[in-house]
């Protein structure tokens, strides 16, 4: 019973991530919501399923899925965030501090991006 509640909590966190993705105004903000909430949510669901099932075969698949989620989800969020920043910059309506623009880090350092700055 507790295990099912854990799984339900994980699903609610994923729903929270979805609400965040729908409600926030800015791509980068939506990405914050998606990464943090859905990673913890899916971890809870996978851990709950591992506790509920009793086959060793399943444990390994679930452990592998959980480990891979934990590794890949932040990286893909970072890649999208970086790509969006390089393509568009952040929304200066929102009263921001932007030290990356000020630092002069070369945006197109991989040589194959066709667009110029911003």
């Amino acid at each position: 019973m507790i295990v099912e509640a854990v799984v339900l909590l994980g699903a609610v966190l994923i729903l929270l991530a979805a609400i965040g993705v729908v409600r926030f105004d800015d791509v980068l903000a939506r990405m914050h919501a998606l990464t943090k909430a859905s990673t913890l949510g899916v971890l809870l669901v996978l851990v709950g399923a591992a506790l509920y099932l009793s086959n060793a075969n399943d444990y390994t698949s679930l452990a592998l899925a959980a480990g891979l989620q934990l590794l890949t989800s932040p990286v893909s969020a970072h890649l999208i965030g970086r790509a969006t920043y390089r393509a568009e910059g952040i929304d200066h309506r929102l009263d921001v501090v932007d030290e990356l623009a000020a630092s002069g880090v070369d945006r197109a350092d991989d040589g194959d991006s066709a667009a110029g700055d911003g």
Binding site: I14, I19, V45, A65, R82, S113
Partner: protein, 83 residues
């Protein structure tokens, strides 16, 4: 309670689907697809709990990996092309 889990995941899927349809930029749509993939992984795990058989669990691993690679590819594209 597992039925409630499925309902919640369905609502999450609808939310991500809305963003997929509406999201003004390509990055929004990629986020929505990533969210849908995570919802799918959770649904597979919940279904394994419902039936008691873990036959589809390796699918969750494959979805995670393929989703990561495709997100990375689209991120590269956005960087070059603009969102």
């Amino acid at each position: 309670m597992i039925a409630a889990t499925f309902l919640v995941l369905l609502a999450a899927g609808v939310g991500f689907g809305y963003r997929l349809a509406r999201g003004p930029s390509l990055a929004d749509r990629v986020l929505a697809v990533d969210g849908l993939l995570i919802t799918g992984v959770a649904a597979i795990a919940a279904d394994a709990m419902r039936t008691g058989r873990g036959a589809f669990l390796p699918v969750a691993v494959v979805i995670t990996l393929v989703g990561f690679v495709s997100t990375a590819i689209v991120a590269r594209y956005i960087e070059g092309r603009g969102a």
